[in-house]
């Protein structure tokens, strides 16, 4: 970490402390107590750290899912929908082969990729803006899951509760230690590093950079934009689909409606906050995961409403974004 970046982080942290402190004073709370409670709830014990990592896992995968197409200059907000459709397809695989972890994961990855292929094809065939198509398809995927768990896939033994049958032990990812964190976290970290290397070291990374900065160069350099649109979208979809099936099989243990907890949108935030660079996105995903996971703890320990927690989270991002001005303001390097 260079000096300028360190500087920026310090400003973000100081800015956050000032903004959040002012807010706490405004609502009649002691700022230090509250900040201590946030720290406690996110990293205050082994349990808290585990929950933060657990929350960060799908956010990290969704950030990567946003970031891959963004390297080509595509703005996909579709990680949420791909996550849902991955969970749906993976659950479908589970219903066919109840104890095959590899088939379940494969189903999830393919499901996410397929759901991303739709906007990718719309883009290359009919020039349909991918932002709007991925946004609309998010809602459709979530509603398809809802329909399945209330209808055809409802567990007959669930006393009317809308959920699929449970995943068997064999179809779940192994857990790390005593926590609820599963191996998916390590997979996500490895995939992140691999993507980082691909983007910075490989020919493909350079191709994406070239096409992003000037798509008109493509025919001159003998590059196919179409191929890259399909490829980046499908890779992104596969990553989000993996997030969905890992969450469903190994955390929820069954397919349910509305299980995503906003991971897709949080991942989108992380990716763009990180300027679509992989390593900062990985660090930010962990930070955002911890901050979001601390929400209920802050409510519980200080009895502030969940809305106050949301304000604090918003202020955190405002401080981080505001601190970015430092970079452009002249102290760069």
């Amino acid at each position: 970490m260079n000096a300028a970046r360190l500087h920026r982080s310090a400003i973000a942290l100081g800015g956050f402390a000032a903004l959040a402190g002012a807010f706490f004073l405004l609502i009649g709370r002691g700022p230090i107590d509250m900040l201590v409670a946030i720290a406690q709830a996110s990293v205050g014990s082994g349990y808290a750290v585990g929950e933060s990592l657990l929350r960060a896992t799908p956010i990290l995968l969704c950030a990567l899912a946003t970031l891959v197409p963004a390297r080509l200059g595509l703005v996909s907000v579709g990680a949420e929908g791909q996550l849902y459709f991955g969970a749906l397809a993976g659950t479908g695989a589970m219903l066919l082969a109840p104890s095959s972890l590899s088939l379940v994961l494969l189903g999830g990855v393919i499901g996410g990729a397929v759901w991303a292929l739709v906007p990718a094809l719309l883009r290359v065939v009919a020039d349909v803006n991918e932002t709007i198509s991925t946004l609309m398809l998010n809602y459709v995927a979530a509603l398809l899951v809802t329909w399945l768990v209330y209808g055809p896939w409802k567990n007959p033994q669930s006393q009317g509760w809308p959920a699929s049958i449970d995943f068997t032990e064999a179809a779940r990812l192994p857990l790390l230690g005593e926590s609820r964190v599963h191996v998916g976290l390590l997979v996500a970290l490895v995939l992140g590093i691999a993507l980082h290397l691909l983007f910075t070291r490989s020919r493909w990374g350079l191709v994406l950079d070239v096409l992003r900065s000037n798509p008109r160069l493509a025919p001159l350099a003998g590059l196919s934009v179409t191929r890259q649109v399909l490829l980046t979208m499908v890779i992104g979809g596969a990553l989000a689909g993996l997030a969905g099936i890992a969450e469903t099989s190994s955390v929820q243990g069954r397919l349910q409606a509305s299980f995503a907890n906003g991971a897709g949108l949080s991942g989108f935030l992380v990716a763009w906050l990180a300027g679509n660079r992989v390593l900062p996105a990985m660090a930010l995903a962990l930070l955002v995961g911890g901050l979001l996971a601390a929400g209920d703890g802050l409510q519980m320990m200080t009895s502030v409403p969940s809305s106050a927690v949301l304000v604090v989270q918003g202020l955190m991002f405002v401080a981080m974004l505001g601190a970015g001005a430092w970079k452009k303001g002249g102290a760069g390097g």
């Binding site: 609502i27 200059g73 595509l74 703005v75 719309l122 065939v125 009919a126 020039d127 349909v128 803006n129 932002t131 709007i132 198509s133 946004l135 609309m136 398809l137 809602y139 459709v140 509603l143 398809l144 809802t146 329909w147 209330y150 209808g151 992003r212 900065s213 798509p215 949108l265 989108f268 935030l269 763009w272 906050l273 300027g275 409403p305 969940s306 809305s307 106050a308 927690v309 949301l310 304000v311 604090v312 989270q313 918003g314 202020l315 991002f317 405002v318 974004l321 505001g322 970015g324 001005a325 452009k328």
Partner: protein, 290 residues
Amino acid sequence: MADTLLQGLPVSALRSAAPLLLVLLGECLTQRVGRINLGVEGQMLVGAVAGYGVTAVSGQPWLGMVAGAAAGALLSAVYALLTVAARADQFASGLAVLMLGFGVSAYAGSGLVGLRIEGFALGAGGTTPTLWLAVALVPLIGLWLYGTRTGLVWRAVGESPPAASAAGITPWKVIVAGIAAGGVLSGLGGAALSIDHTRTWAEGMTAGRGLIAVGLVIVARWNPWLTLPAALLFGLAEALSLRLQAGGSAVPAHLLHTLPYLASLVVFAVTCARLKGGGGPEALRAVFAR
């Protein structure tokens, strides 16, 4: 069944569409000056809560609408500060504003839940003033953007800030104005939702309508005139998804609820295929490709 479906359907579609239309017009102006603001959802929420609170206290729904507009504008100032002064990423800044707006509105509004207000009286065929306000703004903004000198200035900034600058325009001032216009209109949209459409304040009551508006601007091809059909299409599909149930349709409700999203997407894709994309401000394209 056809009777129940069609009875009052046009007004129903308009009613569903009106708050969305206001927000859509605002975001259309913001995107026209080259900014894409995902924070409109949060701006709607603060507009809804401020409008509701002021109406409850004063008994004056129009005063509530003004308060909603002011609250929306105030929150959009945060977005302007981040993206213009600090030159921060637009998408991330918008989401930060969304979170802030959600949190602030829920916090401020917790004392308002379950208050009773007198909204606007129903007019002919179940219409209300906010519905006419939204519809009337469409030609006003359309004519302004395409027919006036300042409208041209805004569009020029949206196409190319350096070129506008060369023509003696100060781009950042125009951009801030475009963001503020989005703030005012999304605040109005939120207030219309709470004061008029539902006469309710509830935490997170916009339920994604702001994000949808950001998307529908693309469907409307950044053209204020086309925001009306885009909002109506969405409102019609939503009204139909409820009316088909009221009419005894056998299709599962969860599938019917996909209707507004699929209809918007299909109509957009079909028109895209015929027009071959395009229509967006150039400076906005630069946001996407970086």
